[in-house]
Amino acid sequence: MSETIKKFLYVNRKAPYGTIYAQESLEVVLIGAAFDQDVSLAFLDDGVFQLTKGQDTKEIGLKNFSATYRALGDYEVTKLYVEKESLEERGLTLDDLQNIEYEDEDDDYAEKSSIRLISRAEMAEVMADQDVVLSF
């Protein structure tokens, strides 16, 4: 039975541990990945803090879920849009983010970065190109 594939965008605008939004978003993305839709993730404003490397939550009693972003490729979630202006405003560059990769099955399973650095204007285009936008 063929069903229409819709474009889903998960918008992440909050830092990872101060509220539960970031972790809940990731949970919903993983659950949603079972439905074979065209999924993208957007990271802007404080949401870019979710992807930083070197997170260590041992002393705050919360689960460190940052490694889970690296597993998204196995669920065919391979488009992580990161807003350049949001990084710059926070003194961050791509080097401060984890390497998040996927295996491109159309290119002999070559490992490619899932992170797509885009401008604020391009982010607005990504948002306007969706069927469904879910915000966290």
Binding site: Y21, D45, A124, Q130, V132, V133, S135
Partner: protein, 102 residues
């Protein structure tokens, strides 16, 4: 017809309204609800950002939330249109998607 953006937090509490305005397209609408309605008031630190939107983006505010907070319609920034709950439904139905800025 574009995106309906909703904002439900005061722009004096966080940057959400400004971020929303920075990600809109021509033909989009921004509806301020709940504490978001404080963003619709004229003569504030936010009102310039709002007026810069010009006519490309339509600005709405939920009248019930204005009334609840004692904000007189006369204090609303120029160009902001007050809608009731039916108007909210109409806006949702006439746009291609709804993006809630949390």
């Amino acid at each position: 017809m574009g995106t309906l953006h909703t904002v439900n937090k005061s722009p004096f509490q966080n940057q959400t309204l400004l971020s929303c305005l920075g990600h809109t397209h021509e033909g989009d609408a921004v509806l301020m609800i709940e504490d978001g309605v404080y963003g619709a008031v004229t003569g504030t630190a936010i009102s310039e950002a709002l007026s810069k939107m010009g006519s490309d983006v339509s600005l709405y505010v939920l009248g019930a939330d204005l009334a609840a907070r004692g904000i007189d319609a006369g204090r609303m920034a120029e160009g902001v249109i007050s809608v009731d709950y039916e108007g909210f439904v109409d806006l949702s139905a006439t746009h291609d998607r709804v993006q809630n800025w949390l």
